[in-house]
């Protein structure tokens, strides 16, 4: 379907003309192809991320326990989409549906975490309340200086999500199992790390204990 050129503001037309120039095009394509240098590799990211989750759980009063843990990845960049060789790790801890609905979990924990993360010097980048017909959703996001993000989201379920930001993708065999925090049974049905350990949770090597996090991960990176 042929379309008529639509008159737009002069600055848009000028910008468009500029964008069509080969050097500008090259810069734009370059920008879209090269994310900033990541601080961790994928394999290195799990331990500090799990430690961040454990640290959050430690300050929550009357903690009822999470129902499940999910290790996931966002396709920032892995397997050919966007930039080859990068990924974003996302670890999700989910409260049970009944616990997800309690004021303790939906409101009190959010207040506690806001205070805790602020005290630790993390940057709060999102603190939102959304009213829905049958519930009020809340969302709190804090970013650590090392780029790891913590997202507490009280929606249908309430979850704590820990996200790595773009990291260099690692070979599956180099990823170490880290036991879950918050009452999720290691290697159990709800410890959803299966796709990383298709042969089963490794037992012949010491699992990384997230509660025993060192001051620095420099030596293990």
């Amino acid at each position: 379907m042929s379309r008529r050129p639509r008159p737009g503001p002069p600055w848009r037309r000028a910008l468009a003309a500029l964008a069509a120039l080969p050097p500008v095009r090259s810069i734009v394509e370059n920008l879209m192809d090269n994310p900033p240098e990541p601080q961790y590799t994928q394999a290195e990211a799990y331990a500090p991320m799990e430690a961040a989750a454990a640290d959050a759980v430690a300050v929550l009063p009357d903690f009822p326990g999470f129902k499940e843990r999910i290790w996931g990845e966002l396709p920032a960049t892995r397997n050919g989409i966007d930039v080859q060789g990068f990924t974003i790790v996302e670890i999700t801890y989910v409260f049970s549906l009944p616990d997800s609905g309690t004021p303790l979990v939906r409101e009190t924990y959010l207040d506690v975490l806001r205070e805790h993360w602020t005290a630790l010097g993390y940057t709060i980048t999102r603190d939102a309340v959304k009213e829905k017909p049958d519930r009020i959703d809340r969302s709190l996001v804090a970013i650590r200086p090392d780029g790891i993000a913590l997202w507490y989201w009280a929606s249908g379920y309430t979850v704590l999500r820990v996200q790595s930001g773009p990291v260099t993708a690692s070979e599956p065999g180099t990823i170490e199992y880290v036991p879950p925090t918050g009452g999720v049974r290691a290697g159990g049905r709800y410890d959803k790390v299966g796709k990383y350990f298709p042969e089963g949770i490794p037992v012949d090597r010491d699992a990384v204990d997230p509660f025993d996090s060192p001051d620095s991960y420099e030596d293990s990176l």
Partner: protein, 595 residues
């Protein structure tokens, strides 16, 4: 090609078309009562074995039964599926576009625009009167209001001078609005023509010759009846092949009716013996397609293994310095690449024991369903997380530039993220999220993503896919189409050109969707959503490539907020990252019907 004009569409009596369709359905029901009587009153009644026991009587009962079967098949195929459903679908489609026209034409007339050009591509231009009004510094009130100037009421007063110096904007504004109405009108007529052509094709494909009846009773009966039975079985195969090859003229809804009418053994036989006629076909239920496609995937990988082995053997006999060797080596690498891509897809969606794998996500974990794949061009992969046939909410994700079969596992991660977010946002409903890489996506930002041909090439396939989801899904399922980058252009072209079955459309990081107005998309404007973060380089995409920014005020629909990533991150692809929870939450709400 449809010759329908906008005046034809405006004046069409859709109720009459629908009534005709309903009449055919009623006729089918009435005729089915007759065959039922034949079976109960004649075969199992007066002529039953209890009263007549002989070889001839058995033959008579068998022949009557086969005649009744034949009549029912023809009723179902022609009167029910072909005629009635075609008329009903056409009536629905025409009425939907007619309603849009009833809204649009008065707007065109009120603004003193004129519809010109051929029915295949209407123009909406400024009328002579509007030209004169602007040139004589007497613009209409609506135009003054849109430009924010006071309508002049005297010659060379301050308002007149202001209008004079703003005359370019007056023209620009009027032309811009006319352009939006033009997009809208063209989209309405394009979808109406598409419905007209599809209805005509469905009717035209009815067989010209009547189907064969069982052989006459007599000396040759025994010789002929087996051929007849075999012919009936072959008819199903012929129909399945024609549907798969797209020559049947049947819509996905009609395909679904045809599939439901088959016996269970016929369906299983088609899946087992001809998975290529089942797996890719929109309108066949998801579970059956998944089974067939997994068989096809196994077969394709095996076939590639054989071809790779043969090619490697052939290479051994060639001169490594020859052109022939270079060409064969390149072909071998391509085969290995295809084999690797297919194996990666298979690994992702299949457990070690061959059963469908479950996607990582909140309880209840959802299995992968393979709805299509291919290695042609940059490759195809259509995978659903969760069964869209049983889900309350189905979100179909269309990826953009550089998406290919090799990257399908990565795109599946993004799809999984959306599925996970939807389940967390709406635990009380069942959700499915589909990765639709059912088209050849551009490989480069420049020049390929600047071209419309990739979107136009995808349009009909996306239309059919969404219609297939509607045909096989629940009646009140909430369907969302979400595009990223060039994927939004694909959705926009499909929606305006052929039409899509969707309740919500979401444009993420769009370079433009082929139209300047949400009104042209054939979906309620309130359910059109768009987002761009402020650092996304897609802002540099000029309007003349793919149309206006769908997050702009003039576009209509809704814009929602997405946060940026780091200033030097690839902010065109951070919409599902840990820096954009606001956007992910909104998308989850849209996809689960909470907005």
């Amino acid at each position: 090609m449809s010759e329908m004009t906008w005046e034809h569409l405006r004046d069409l009596d859709c109720t009459a078309v629908r009534t005709l369709g309903e009449s055919w359905k009623t006729y089918v029901d009435q005729q089915l009562a007759h065959t039922e009587r034949l079976r109960t009153d004649v075969i199992e009644g007066h002529l039953s074995a209890e009263h007549y026991e002989s070889d001839t009587a058995t033959q008579v009962r068998e022949q009557i039964g086969m005649t009744a079967d034949r009549y029912e098949d023809d009723l179902s195929d022609y009167a029910g599926t072909r005629i009635a459903t075609t008329l009903l679908e056409a009536a629905d489609a025409f009425e939907k576009e007619q309603n849009e026209l009833k809204e649009l034409i008065p707007l065109i007339e009120q603004h003193d625009f004129a519809i010109e050009g051929p029915h295949s591509e209407y123009d909406v231009n400024l009328s002579g009167g509007l030209h004169r009004a602007i040139l004589s510094l007497d613009p209409p009130q609506w135009l003054c209001d849109k430009c924010g100037v006071k309508k002049p009421d005297g010659f060379w007063d301050i308002d007149t001078l202001k209008v004079l110096f703003d005359s370019v904007d007056l023209y620009g504004t009027a032309i811009g609005l006319a352009g939006q109405y033009q997009d809208w009108l063209r989209a309405v007529m394009s979808r109406a023509h598409d419905a007209d052509d599809e209805a005509a094709a469905a009717l035209a494909e009815m067989r010209e010759n009547p189907t064969e009846l069982p052989p006459h009773l007599g000396a040759t009966y025994d010789d002929l009846v087996d051929d007849y039975k075999e012919g009936v079985t072959e008819e199903v195969a012929d129909e399945a092949e024609a549907i798969a090859e797209g020559t049947s003229g049947m819509s996905p809804e009609q395909v679904n009716q045809w599939w439901q009418h088959l016996s269970e053994s016929e369906r299983q036989a088609l899946i087992a013996e001809h998975p290529e006629w089942v797996g890719p076909v929109d309108g066949i239920p998801t579970a059956s397609r998944d089974t067939a496609n997994r068989t096809l995937l196994d077969n394709d990988i095996d076939g590639l293994d054989s071809r790779i082995a043969a090619k490697e053997q052939a290479l051994q006999g060639m001169d490594p310095e020859s052109d022939e060797y270079e060409q064969a080596k390149q072909e071998l690498d391509d085969l290995k690449g295809d084999r690797s891509d297919l194996a990666n897809l298979q690994d992702r969606i299949t457990n070690d024991d061959g059963t469908p794998a479950l996607a990582e996500g909140p309880e209840p974990q959802q299995p992968y369903y393979l709805l299509g794949f291919g290695t042609q061009d940059s490759g195809r992969a259509i995978v659903s997380i969760g069964n869209p046939d049983t889900a309350d909410n189905v979100n179909t994700f269309v990826p953009g530039t550089t998406a290919n079969l090799g990257g399908a596992p990565g795109i599946l991660n993004r799809t999984e993220t959306m599925q996970s977010d939807a389940q967390l946002a709406s635990p009380g409903s069942s959700n499915a999220t589909v990765m639709w890489l059912g088209y050849d996506a551009p490989d480069t930002i420049v020049p390929e993503a600047a071209q419309e041909r990739w979107a136009d090439g995808a349009s009909e396939d996306l239309e059919n896919f969404t219609q297939g989801l509607s045909a096989t899904g629940q009646e009140h399922t909430n369907h969302t189409l979400t595009g990223h980058s060039y994927g939004t252009t694909v959705i926009g072209h499909a929606a305006t050109k052929d039409g899509v079955d969707a309740d919500n459309i979401v444009f993420v990081a769009s370079p433009g969707v082929g139209t300047d107005t949400a009104s042209a998309l054939g979906v309620d404007e309130d359910n059109v959503w768009a987002t761009r973060n402020s650092l996304d380089p897609i802002h540099l995409s000029p309007d003349f490539l793919h149309g206006a920014d769908p997050t702009g005020d003039d576009f209509g629909g809704n814009a929602y907020h997405s946060d940026t990533g780091a200033w030097n991150a690839n902010n065109h692809s951070t919409y599902w990252d840990d820096t954009n929870m606001a956007g992910r939450e909104t998308l989850a709400d849209i996809a689960t019907g909470q907005r």
